[in-house]
């Protein structure tokens, strides 16, 4: 059976989630796993939601750590930190990875209103992630996409060639014409062979297929941006509607590539 894994999701609290029928907007590990079960997804790389910034994501990272213990292989921790917290951010990353088994670092430029060009801020965390042997996911929000362009990710990636970097949401390309970087994604990925990308928020099938053909199927991961977006949709899109791909290629995008990247047991 192929493994189905989501490379981009969130847990914790966000009052907006009540609008989805999530009670009190609180999504804990048990509820998250029920959501995975309902969608036929084996596991997900899950980060604290942005609302956790008030306590530097500590409360939600603790909840994720607990979820990883109770649902091993299904809740996969994605450590989110605030670069402007400097030494505290580095300490949090080391603790979460070395002691609790988190598998990747999320740098979200909206968290501290920075850009990936601010290398003095970003590089220490990237270097630490490299030393810990984990990939780095670089993301932004709709309104701050310009702070996290694929070219900026590539600039960092070429300087840390042994670390894998994930360009979240395909660099915001393909989101109903959102002014991101569909033209920029492929050149950036070609320039930095240690980059991959994930499909969160992207539902333009042609854009995904074009990217796969340009950079290779092993460099595209399925992501959902759940629960802000329904966790099941990328799986349906990839497995049923990206029909230029063969079955084996679909399975790589839908989970195999992430399992390989995170060294998960097959």
């Amino acid at each position: 059976m192929p493994v189905i894994l989501d490379a981009h999701s969130y847990m914790g609290s966000d009052l907006q989630w009540a609008q989805l029928g999530i009670r009190s907007g609180r999504l804990d590990a048990d509820a998250f796993v029920r959501m995975l079960d309902g969608a036929g997804i084996d596991g997900a790389l899950v980060a604290p939601s942005g609302t956790g910034i008030a306590d530097d994501f500590k409360g939600d990272l603790d909840r994720i750590a607990d979820g990883m213990k109770r649902h091993p292989g299904r809740v996969i921790g994605l450590c989110r930190v605030r670069p402007r917290k400097r030494l505290a951010a580095l300490a949090s990353l080391k603790l979460r990875v070395a002691d609790q088994g988190f598998k990747a670092l999320l740098l979200h430029t909206s968290d501290d209103e920075y850009t990936l060009k601010d290398r003095a801020l970003v590089d220490p965390l990237v270097e630490a992630a490299g030393n810990l042997g984990i990939p780095v996911i670089l993301d932004a929000e709709d309104q701050s996409w310009a702070s996290c362009l694929p070219s900026m990710v590539a600039d960092i990636a070429v300087d840390f060639p042994t670390t894998t970097f994930v360009i979240a949401r395909m660099g915001f390309g393909g989101v109903n014409g959102w002014p991101g970087s569909p033209q920029e994604l492929v050149p950036a990925m070609k320039r930095a062979p240690n980059t991959v990308t994930e499909t969160g928020s992207v539902f333009l099938s042609k854009f995904i297929q074009d990217t796969i053909e340009a950079v290779g199927v092993e460099r595209v991961l399925m992501g959902s941006n759940a629960p802000y977006m329904p966790i099941e949709l990328p799986k349906v899109m990839i497995l049923k509607h990206l029909n230029k791909l063969g079955q084996r290629e679909k399975e790589m995008v839908a989970g195999g590539n992430l399992a390989r990247l995170l060294n998960l047991p097959s």
Partner: protein, 268 residues
């Protein structure tokens, strides 16, 4: 019996990029019905894709006309016109609706480099659409979103209170904040969800103006047509089943007057 699912925004015709999804190109009525059957969708309102702009969309509108004829009740046509062609655009709309059974008008400001607040340019085609009693669909959001803002559609809709308007893409991205004020101001305006997989945004719209004002759309086959009903039925869990049924199909039947048409036919 489960209610039927209808897609309020999709494309049929000759768009070479669709081969990237393993679809036949051109995608005709047969291909579309097969795709709907695979996806649990009963019917779709389809327009010619943008690549046909130079030919005024006519070859693809001919394909749509053939599909309407072959698959009544499953394929519905949107007539896409370029308003700068003036009288020709109006005549084309009338012919497609009266002779070929098209059900709606589609306007995208990118097609002729115009703006939705250019009322002098748009008035003849809107008036013709209103007289024909069809749904008037307007694209919003996107890179050219400044030219096609939801509030501009609201301004038109209040002047044609008997006509149904559909605001494509819920103003996403960039203009979603105009949606609720526009829908409140123009009770004959609706939104459709193509490309918008943001259930929180859609639930906010339902909470403010009710479930009768949203129709699912897919942008298919650019995005998979199966996704919007999955989103509404399985991930918008504040909605009651009746509201889900309205959004996934009931509202489509109402704004396209499908039940009225059937009744009309029976009474003749």
């Amino acid at each position: 019996m489960a209610s039927l699912v209808y897609d309020a925004h999709a494309y049929l015709g000759n768009s070479p990029g669709w081969a990237q999804m393993g679809l036949p190109v051109p995608l005709d009525g047969d291909g579309w019905v097969q795709m709907m059957d695979r996806s649990g969708v009963h019917g779709a309102l389809v327009a010619p894709p943008g690549v046909g702009r130079e030919q005024f969309f006519r070859p693809d509108m001919d394909r749509i006309a053939a599909a309407i004829k072959k698959y009544p009740g499953r394929i519905f046509g949107m007539c896409r016109v370029r308003p700068r062609s003036g009288r020709e655009a109006v005549d084309e709309l009338r012919r497609r609706v009266e002779e070929q059974g098209f059900s709606a008008l589609k306007m995208n400001s990118l097609d002729d480099s115009y703006r939705f607040d250019d009322r002098k340019l748009l008035e003849p085609i809107i008036e013709a659409g209103a007289r024909l009693g069809i749904l008037l669909y307007f694209h919003t959001g996107d890179r050219h979103g400044e030219t096609c803002q939801p509030k501009m559609i609201g301004d038109i809709a209040v002047d044609y209170p008997e006509t149904n308007f559909n605001i494509g893409h819920v103003g996403y991205p960039g203009y979603t904040d105009q949606i609720i004020p526009t829908l409140k101001r123009a009770p004959n305006a609706h939104v459709e969800t193509a490309g918008v997989f943001l259930p929180i945004l859609l639930q906010n719209v339902v909470d403010e103006v009710g479930a009768t004002r949203i129709l699912i759309g897919s942008n298919g086959p650019n995005s998979a047509i199966e996704l919007p009903p999955v989103m509404v039925n399985r991930y918008m869990n504040k909605l009651i089943p009746e509201e889900k049924a309205l959004i996934t199909g009931g509202n489509f039947r109402r704004v396209l007057k499908l039940d009225g048409r059937a009744a009309d036919r029976r009474s003749r």
